[in-house]
Symmetry: C2
Subunit: 409 residues, 2 copies
């Protein structure tokens, strides 16, 4: 099938995907775009050709997606239908051509303004590995882990788009055998493979959002790297949880894949072995068959399977709001590190190097326990699509800058 | 001394205070105001009489303080000087009168859009009490407590202004002797007396803010009630910290008291018994002599002294950013519960009732371990002013609504 964009169907971004992002062409201002084949469609530029009504065109003329996200599922579906029709129509090839930019020629930006950011901890394999590494001799899972999806609030102001370099943080760390913390650059900088969920439609304080209302509120998913300084985190996390060990940067992919593109990826989560409170029972499953990969300096070091996550995104949403906390447009919540059962499926260097005791070997022959300055970390992902195909979630990448100079212990 | 506002000098809000807020007169729209005596000055309305320049008048014509807060200390001081001159001038009484609204006749709103919200844990007495109550038999202070100000991110989207009722949250709680959590309304709802610090001027990612730059970034303080559901918190906080036990609501006072009004309140923090990393050393002290009180249903149950806080606001700011995390206009960070050494100075019901084992007696003869539906909690505060006077920080109040019906375990 040929549509308005040549060879889109053989690309990472076929017609069934159509993720949204914010881009600027060389020298141009920020605008909303849709990835199709090797191109980005300038949505406000193409609005008349797409048949977008005045209200929809207005929502999509902003430099961020928030207003469109807030408009809700009826608007999302109407616009998606128009995009599918126009981009699937070979007769519109000449009409749309002026509004298509080659993807490698544009700059990609953070697609939405982040309101609150929450990070969950929903892979049983990851949580068990972390427990075994950090709290040996105790039950690896926290006692409540199977009763609800555990999470915490992170720093919304340091969520950055893929490609933004990440500077190695300074912090207080306890060296092995030391009895007072030292102050210095983190020596245990890590990446975490995660999937982010972006809230479009907010909710009222005091009104919990049911798991079954997931698709009425959540607009899209993205890939997310929850950069972590393990030494800073280890010293600070009792009793208030992760803080400076995480807050220096969280990277997200530029392309937001709408839930409507993920129907074929839905699957049942793993069987539960602990009874669930009613608010956590899902009527229809929103596990997702996403294949993820973690790459360091060109070597794929892990392939975490998202389908094995114990807690699903609707369960996380229901838990996040069950106390009456409200949602806002732009809220971002992340799955927690995605780790499978096999070591080749673990989603962090902490696990892959077993806290530095089993360094990884990269393609260039070098070893890694944690990240070194100059390392480039990339997370990629695909979702199961129609007829056995896979659609791309794009990628989130970042390189490590050396720690800032000029401070001393 | 008589100025433009009769008897302002004998009131809670004299000329040396001049806190900023956002108000709406009956039927009117939101605008920036300044509290003076029993009145609120409509700042944009009075802009010509105040001699505000076009740029300053423009910043102050918004329905929230964020743009003015972002403008920085030179602007804050220029505007404050004009306000002091005009409001101190009895000759302007007739000119300003049309722009003065009686305080009890207006509605007060959240004065700024909250970016990120961080809550610290900086009272040694509070942290020790909580340790003794929740982790008996262990060292009451976490091992790192004296090495840096511990904190965590809270939910910015549920920060509400004083007067907003707070609905009792549902959640999962472990009953004494139970082995699986039950799901129900929190039975251990608490208040926490805190002071909030409001960031005006942001910072760049990767550039820590020095403690000595505190007053270049922080615009003002407010009173803050960190409502807490102790049963939900107890079940969830290991290992990721407080989450749903806090995220249902955080209340702040409507009046933001500028740092420039607090010079006379500055004092040295308590002596430190543990060496500090250089980034936590303060050249000049920003402890604050604030007298706080916690009232439940008209009975003052505690008078926490803020001057005894171990960690100061500049130290908290330096720690928050030492890993390179950036600040944004509207960031709010809170002191943590303010508790003094004496039981009459403890800032939460958890401490005052020693986890429910010693209920408080209120003025109406009733007992309280934790909050009941309909209870009204008010935090008030004053700061040491010039010549032995005290200036008001206003109050933050909220009543408890019964838990939402219609859910069952």
């Amino acid at each position: 099938v040929n549509g308005a964009v040549p060879s889109a169907e053989d690309s990472a971004f076929p017609l069934e995907s159509l993720p949204y992002g914010v881009f600027s062409p060389s020298g141009g201002s920020r605008r909303i775009g849709v990835a199709i084949g090797d191109f980005v469609l300038d949505v406000p530029g193409a609005a008349p050709a797409l048949g977008l009504g005045g209200d929809d065109a207005e929502l999509l003329s902003a430099p961020v997606l928030n207003r469109f996200m807030a408009a809700g599922p009826a608007t999302w579906r109407r616009v998606r239908r128009l995009l599918v029709e126009a981009l699937g129509d070979a007769g519109l090839r000449d009409t749309l051509a002026p509004h298509l930019h080659r993807r490698e020629s544009v700059s990609l930006h953070l697609a939405f303004e982040v309101a609150d950011y929450v990070d969950f901890y929903s892979s049983e394999h990851h949580a068990s590995n972390v427990g075994r590494i950090l709290r040996p001799g105790t039950d690896p899972l926290p006692p409540s882990w199977k009763h609800f999806p555990m999470g915490y609030h992170g720093r919304a102001g340091t969520v950055v788009v893929s490609g933004t370099p990440v500077r190695r943080p300074w912090g207080q760390e306890l060296e092995a055998g030391g009895n007072a913390p030292r102050f210095g650059p983190s020596g245990r900088l890590d990446a975490e493979v995660e999937v982010g969920f972006v809230v479009g439609v907010g909710s009222e304080v005091g009104s919990p959002v049911e798991a079954s209302s997931f698709a009425d509120h959540v607009f899209a998913i993205c890939l997310l790297n929850d950069w972590s300084a393990r030494d800073i985190q280890a010293l600070e996390y009792v009793p208030l949880g992760p803080f400076l060990g995480k807050s220096f940067a969280t990277s997200v992919s530029p392309w937001l894949v709408p839930l409507d593109a993920l129907e074929a990826a839905r699957c049942a989560p793993p069987p539960r072995d602990t009874p669930l409170q009613p608010y956590l029972v899902e009527a229809s499953p929103w596990g997702l068959d996403l294949a993820l990969e973690l790459e360091c300096n060109g070597t794929v070091v892990s392939r975490p399977p998202f389908a094995g996550m114990y807690w699903t995104a609707p369960q996380q949403l229901a838990h996040l709001t069950v106390n009456g906390a409200s949602l806002r447009t732009g809220d971002l919540y992340a799955s927690g590190t995605v780790s499978g059962a096999a070591p080749s499926e673990w989603g962090s260097l902490l696990e892959l190097s077993w806290n530095g005791t089993r360094p990884l070997r990269l393609g260039d022959g070098s070893e890694r326990s944690f990240l070194e300055d100059g390392d480039v970390v990339t997370i990629r992902g695909t979702a199961r699509g129609i007829a056995g195909r896979r659609i791309s979630l794009g990628e989130v990448t970042g390189s490590i800058l050396p720690a800032r100079a000029g401070r001393s212990a």
